[in-house]
């Protein structure tokens, strides 16, 4: 077999990869460029450049309120999901829980069940509880939606950790909490922080549950974007999309910094 025999295949592979690269990145690049447009419509290439749409974005109460609601929703729900998910992972991986595999599988359900079903179900139950249109209702929904990601990331970090370190601490007389606090937690900290970042970005981007549970008064960014997209929209939507994209890049960079060498373990 000569290397020449493979050349057409290599060429085909290279061409396809470039096509996929363009397909994945070009739309995002176009949105970022359009967000700096001076034209009042989504024209590409823009006739000129300006910051007017960012000006509109940060001076329109509907958008600034939505950003504030998103932050008020993202911070508590991602922290709650991380704390509850980390505690559950520690219990499930180390606690000899009967039926641990079944419980883990159940905790994964919010990922597998289509978002529309969860959203409709929460909306239906919330009606009787007066939780629709409240921040509390949104926070509960986002927490339960994002616990599975925390459990997946933190459990796998706990499984690769050496149990003997914890056993040694316990043998030397450390109470369980001290063992967790001084041995386990520092070892799994990168995974915990990484899952916090995942929960944050997922909450910021979440649309379907928010669409059902939010109201005109309590409306996160994703819902505000959605309602704009269904109506007449101008480059403000490209500006907010670019802000979301920048936020995603920052979170991604922070996550990569947390896990050197673990970059490829996502799938």
């Amino acid at each position: 077999m000569s290397a020449d025999g493979m050349t057409p295949w290599r060429l085909l592979r290279g061409t396809l990869v470039i096509m996929v690269a363009v397909f994945l990145l070009a739309p995002l690049a176009v949105v970022v460029i359009i967000s700096f447009s001076s034209a009042p419509f989504l024209q590409f290439p823009p006739p000129g450049f300006s910051l007017r749409w960012y000006g509109v974005l940060f001076s329109t109460p509907a958008w600034t309120n939505a950003l504030w609601v998103s932050v008020q929703l993202m911070v508590p729900s991602s922290i709650a999901a991380t704390v509850l998910g980390t505690a559950a992972s520690y219990g499930l991986v180390r606690g000899r829980v009967p039926g641990a595999r079944l419980i883990t599988a159940c905790l994964m359900l919010p990922i597998i069940v289509p978002g529309m079903i969860t959203a409709a179900a929460l909306f239906g139950i919330y009606r009787g509880l007066g939780l629709n249109g409240t921040l509390t209702g949104l926070i509960i929904g986002h927490t339960v939606l994002h616990i599975p990601y925390v459990v997946a990331v933190v459990s796998s970090a706990l499984r690769v950790q050496d149990v003997q370190l914890e056993q040694a601490a316990a043998t030397l007389g450390a109470p369980p909490w001290a063992t967790f606090r001084h041995i386990t937690l520092p070892l799994i900290m990168p995974a915990v922080m990484s899952s916090l970042l995942i929960a944050m970005i997922l909450s910021f981007d979440e649309l379907i549950v928010s669409l059902f549970v939010s109201s005109a008064r309590v409306r996160p960014v994703a819902v505000q974007m959605w309602s704009n997209l269904l109506g007449d929209f101008d480059p403000t939507i490209a500006a907010i999309a670019s802000v979301c994209f920048l936020f995603a890049l920052l979170v991604m960079a922070a996550d990569l910094a947390l896990r050197p060498g673990r970059t490829l373990r996502i799938g």
């Binding site: 493979m6 592979r13 590409f44 219990g91 419980i103 905790l107 289509p114 529309m116 799938g267």
Partner: protein, 274 residues
Amino acid sequence: MRAVDGRIWLILPAVSLLAVAFLVPVGWLLSRAFTFPEPGLQNFALLWERPVYMRVMMNTLIISAIVTPVTVLLAFPVAHLMAHGSARLRRWLVFLVLVPFWTSLLVRAFATAILLQRHGVINSFLIGFGLVEEPLPLLYNMTGLLAGCVQVLLPFVIFPLYSSMARIDPGYMRAAATLGAPPVRAFLRVYLPLTLPGLVTGATLVFISTLGYYIIPALLGGARQQMIAQLIQDQIAAFGNWGVAGALSLVLLAITGAMVALLHVTVGLKEIAR
């Protein structure tokens, strides 16, 4: 040390929240199928009888069945280059896939719409180069829907496929070549079967994700490409018809569950977790 230890209580908060804010609501929604507006199976009879419902359910299956192979075919060369290219190239490709992976689905769907719209980038390009006279209809139809789904779901195939490919011992392909197998034959008989765990995992993820999609068909598809999730939303928001919404949810969940079970049987969930 055999006894259950105190750490078991740590799972309680997460499990209680899951029960109260997920299992109970979803169970309640599904039970509406049998109880709303009155006890019986009339909602399932409606799904069967009304052509609209049947058409949307078939649509959803057909769209998922088209999106899955297209996504796998496009993901394959990327994962292959990632697994067998140079370390430098791998870093670039990982970056290429991670960026959209972390970016909001809504932002990506909107970006795709900008590209595909009547006077969008692709049409301007095609007209500019004299390839077409009139702008092509790329949005609010099957083309737009497929482009959006494939765009969003590519990373979900590339990553598992890559992790299967990276574990393949290059010695196998050399052995096949030494034993006289032409490259194509060695690829089909030796390489491809070894990628199957990643391929099946990725394909299943794409299939079940597409089944439940709402944002992409609503934003990029047309009225004729309506999917189950849109119908569920419609039934609740427009008609307050919790019975039909519950029945549709049950159908959607049953198909999703069957696919996950199939994946469990063929690949094993343990393998996926690796």
